[in-house]
Amino acid sequence: MDLTHSAEQLELGAVARSLFTRECPTSLVRRLREPGSDGLAPTLWQALASAGIFGIPFEEKYGGAGAGQYELGLVFEQAGRALCPTIVYSTMVFGLGVARLGGDQLKSRYLPDLVEGRLRASHATWNPSNAADLRPRLSALRVADGWLLSGRLLFVQNAQAVDVLMVTARTSVHREPQRTYGFLIQPGGAGWLARALMTIAHDQQSEVVLSDYFVADDAVLTGPDGTGLAEGDLAWLANSAIALQCMEMVGGTAAVIEQTVAYTKVREQFGRPIGSFQAVQHLVADMRIALDAARLTATQAAWWTGRGEIANRAVAIAKMKCNEAYKWATLNCHQLQGGMGYVLDTDLHLWSSRAKLTELQGGTTDTAALWLERESGLI
C-alpha cells in the first residue's frame, strides 16, 4: 500500500507534461476542431512516437517498453491537461484490446507498428453511452474465408481517419451457438458507410453503417479456444478504457482550476484581485476537493485495471467522481473567469466542451452508479 508515485513515475509524468505543453498547444486543439479536420496531428504524433509513449504498456517482444498500463494512465493525465486529440486514446485502447484479446499472430501484425507510431486505430466494442453494455451491435454471417458484418455503430471515435478498427459482432452460423467475435477492419470499401457526428466538443466521431462488409478470417479474434471472446476480457477492455479516460478527466480538471486561479490573481475588481475574495477561494477549494476525489479514485481504477483486473467497482466510482468533478470545475471556472473566459477567443470553452463530452462518453454518473449498484448486489 503506497499511494505516492515512484521517482520513475514522477519523471514520466513530467516528461509527458512537457511534451504535451510543447507539442499540443491550444492552437493545435483549435485547428483539429475546425470543420473538415481529419483529427490527425502528425507533429504531435511523431513526438509521441519518438518519446516511446505508444510502447509504454506493451510487451518488449512487440517493441514495447513493458512499463505497465498504469504508467500509460499517467501519460493520459497529462494528455487530458492539454486536450490531446482523441486519436491517441482510441489507438491505445485498440492496442490494449489486441494485446489482451489477440493471438501472437495479430499482436505481431499490429503492435510493433502501433508502438512505432505507424498505426492509427480505434474500437467499438461497447455501447458508447454505457461501457458495461458489451452486447455487439453488429451481426456476422459466415461466408467462405471470412465473415460478412452488418449493423450500425454510433459514436465511433476517429472512424474515418484510422487504419484499423476493432469491432465485435454476434456470429450467426448454422447449427452453432451465437458467439461474440472480434474483427479488425479497415475503414472504407464495400459495405462501409460513415457519417461524421457533430458533437459539443467538435471531436471526431462517426456513425458507421456496415452492410455485408467482408472480413477475412485472419483478422478475426475468436477467443483462446475459438468459442468467442470472453465477456470478462471485453469488460476489462472497456473498464481499462474508462479508467484511462478518467485519468484524462483528472488532468483536464486540474488544468482548468490552475488556469482559473492564475486569472483570479491578476484580475482586479473593487481594487483587489478577485482571488482574494473568500467566495472565490471557497469555490476554488470546492473544486480542489472534487479534484482530489476524482484523482484518487481514477488512479485506483487505472492501477487495478492496469494489473489486469476487471475492477468494476473501482471503475464505476472513478467515472462517477470524474464526471462531476470535471464538469462542475469547468462551469465554475466560467463563473470565475466571467465574460473573459466566455468568448471563443479564450480557451476555457475547449475544456468545458470536452468535459461535457467525456461525462457522457461511456456512461453518465447515473449510469456509472448503476454499475456500482450492480456490483454491490443492490440490483
Binding site: N127, P128, S129, N130, D133, L154, F155, L197, M198, T199, I200, A201, E207, E268, Q269, F270, G271, I274, F277, Q278, A279, V280, K327, L331, H334, Q335, G338, G339, Y342, V343, L344, D345, L348, H349, S352, S353, K356, L357, E359, L360, Q361, T364, T365, D366, T367, A369
Partner: protein
C-alpha cells in the same frame, strides 16, 4: 393573496397566446436561433413590427407617454408567454431604458427619446461594462467632456450585446473624474451611427454575439444627457434592478420542462426510453419543482411592483436561483439521452434539435452576467439581513 388569474388577466393571457400561436413561425424561430448573424433579418424585424402594432412595446408605460398603462402583472404575463414560445418580446429598450427616461429624464429627454421607442423605430444597446469595470461597474473610465454644446466621448464598452443591431447606445460615462467613484457618472444617449463609434464582434461559447464598442472623439448634442449631470449611478442601478426583474419570468424554463417530459418518452437508439429510468424521472421532477419556485419568484416580484414596492431582494434571489437552475436544466437536458446528448444543433440526430447542448453553452452567461452571483449573494445577506459589509 391570490394564485389565480382574474378574468381580465385571463383574457390578456389568451390574447397574447393567440398572437404568438399565429405569429411564431418556424422561419422566425430559425432566424432567432442564428445568433451569429450580424444583422437580424426579415423575420425578426417583421415580428417586432407586429408587436409594435399591438402597442405592446409601451404596455407598461403610462398613457401620457403613449403607453397602454398596464401593470407589472400584465407585463409579467406577456413576457412569460413570449419566453415560453422562445421569442423576444419587448426588450431592454422598452422595459428598462424607456422607464428610466420617464422616471429620471428631463422633459426634453422624454419628448425627444420616448416617441421613437414607442413606435418601435429604435433599439437601444446598453453600455455599462468595460474591460476593467465588470462586476465593479462603478470603476468605469469612458469619459465624456463638454465642448460647447456637445459631449465629446472617448473610451470603450465591452459585453455590449445588441450593439450590432441597435440604433442607439444608452451609455454610461464618467463626467467628473475628480468625484468619488460612484459620483461623477452620467448617462448619455449616443446614436450608433455617430462618427467615431466602432462595434467589433465578440463571439461567445454559445455562438451568441456580443460586442466591444469603441468611442473615439464621438460628439453628441449636450441635450443627449439623461436627467441630471453626475447622477447616472442611481439611474443605472435602477435599470439593472429592472433588468434582473425581467430575467425572472421563467417562461422558457417551463417550456424546457414541458418539453423534456415529452422527449423522455421517445425511445433512444438502443430501444430504451429515458422515462423508464427512475433517475431521469427524478431529475425532471426536481427541475419541475424548482421551475415552479422560479415562476413564483417572478410573480411575487410583479405583485410587489404592482403594489408599488421595489422588489430588490426578490429579484436578486430570483436572479441567483434562476441562473443556477438554468445550468441544471441544461445539464439534465444533455445527460439523459446518453452520448447523443453531446450532439450539437449542427447534427440532425441531436435530441431536441440540440437545444439543450446549446443551452448548456448559454447557461454560464446568466450566472456571472447582470451582476455576478457572488456579488448578488452579498446583496442578499447585506440588504436582506443587514449583515455587516466589511471588505467582502
Amino acid at each position: 393573496m391570490n394564485f389565480e388569474l382574474d378574468a381580465a388577466q385571463s383574457v390578456w393571457r389568451d390574447e397574447v397566446r393567440a398572437f404568438l400561436r399565429e405569429n411564431v413561425t418556424p422561419e422566425l424561430l430559425a432566424e432567432v436561433g442564428e445568433h451569429r448573424t450580424t444583422l437580424l433579418g426579415g423575420e425578426v424585424a417583421a415580428f417586432r413590427k407586429k408587436i409594435g402594432a399591438k402597442g405592446w412595446f409601451g404596455l407598461n408605460w403610462p398613457a401620457e407617454f403613449g403607453g397602454m398603462g398596464l401593470g407589472p402583472i400584465y407585463q409579467h404575463i406577456l413576457m412569460d408567454e413570449f419566453e415560453y414560445w422562445g421569442v423576444q418580446g419587448p426588450d431592454l429598450t422598452v422595459t428598462s431604458v424607456a422607464p428610466m427616461i420617464m422616471r429620471h429624464g428631463t422633459q426634453q429627454n422624454r419628448e425627444q427619446f420616448l416617441p421613437p421607442i414607442a413606435r418601435g423605430e429604435v433599439r437601444y444597446a446598453v453600455g455599462y461594462s468595460e474591460p476593467n469595470a465588470g462586476t465593479d461597474l462603478a470603476s468605469l473610465k469612458t469619459r465624456a467632456e463638454l465642448d460647447g454644446e456637445e459631449w465629446v466621448i472617448n473610451g470603450s464598452k465591452i459585453w455590449n450585446s445588441q450593439a450590432h443591431v441597435a440604433t442607439h447606445e444608452w451609455l454610461c460615462v464618467r463626467t467628473d473624474p475628480e468625484a468619488p467613484k460612484h459620483r461623477g457618472i452620467s448617462v448619455i444617449i449616443v446614436p450608433i451611427d455617430t462618427p467615431g463609434v466602432e462595434v467589433r464582434p465578440l463571439i461567445t461559447w454559445a455562438d451568441y454575439r456580443t460586442n466591444e464598442t469603441f468611442f473615439t472623439d464621438v460628439r453628441v448634442p449636450r441635450t443627449n444627457l439623461i436627467g441630471q449631470l453626475n447622477e447616472g449611478w442611481q439611474y443605472i442601478t435602477g435599470a439593472l434592478s429592472l433588468e434582473r426583474g425581467a430575467l425572472t419570468n421563467a417562461g422558457d424554463f417551463r417550456r424546457h420542462v414541458d418539453e423534456l417530459k415529452e422527449l423522455v418518452r421517445l425511445p433512444l437508439e438502443d430501444g430504451t426510453r429515458p422515462v423508464d429510468n427512475a433517475e431521469v424521472r427524478r431529475a425532471i421532477a426536481q427541475l419541475d419543482a424548482d421551475v415552479e419556485a422560479a415562476v413564483l419568484m417572478g410573480l411575487e416580484a410583479a405583485s410587489l411592483l404592482e403594489i408599488g414596492e421595489m422588489p430588490t431582494i426578490t429579484v436578486t434571489v430570483a436572479k441567483v436561483f434562476t441562473s443556477e437552475l438554468r445550468q441544471r436544466i441544461a445539464d439534465v437536458g444533455t445527460r439523459i439521452f446518453g452520448l447523443a446528448g453531446a450532439l450539437s444543433t449542427a447534427d440532425p440526430a441531436a435530441p431536441a434539435a440540440g437545444r439543450y447542448e446549446k443551452l448548456y453553452r448559454n447557461a454560464p452567461l446568466m450566472r456571472f452576467g447582470a451582476g455576478t452571483n457572488e456579488v448578488l449573494r452579498d446583496v442578499i445577506a447585506q440588504r436582506g439581513y443587514t449583515m455587516p459589509r466589511l471588505g467582502r
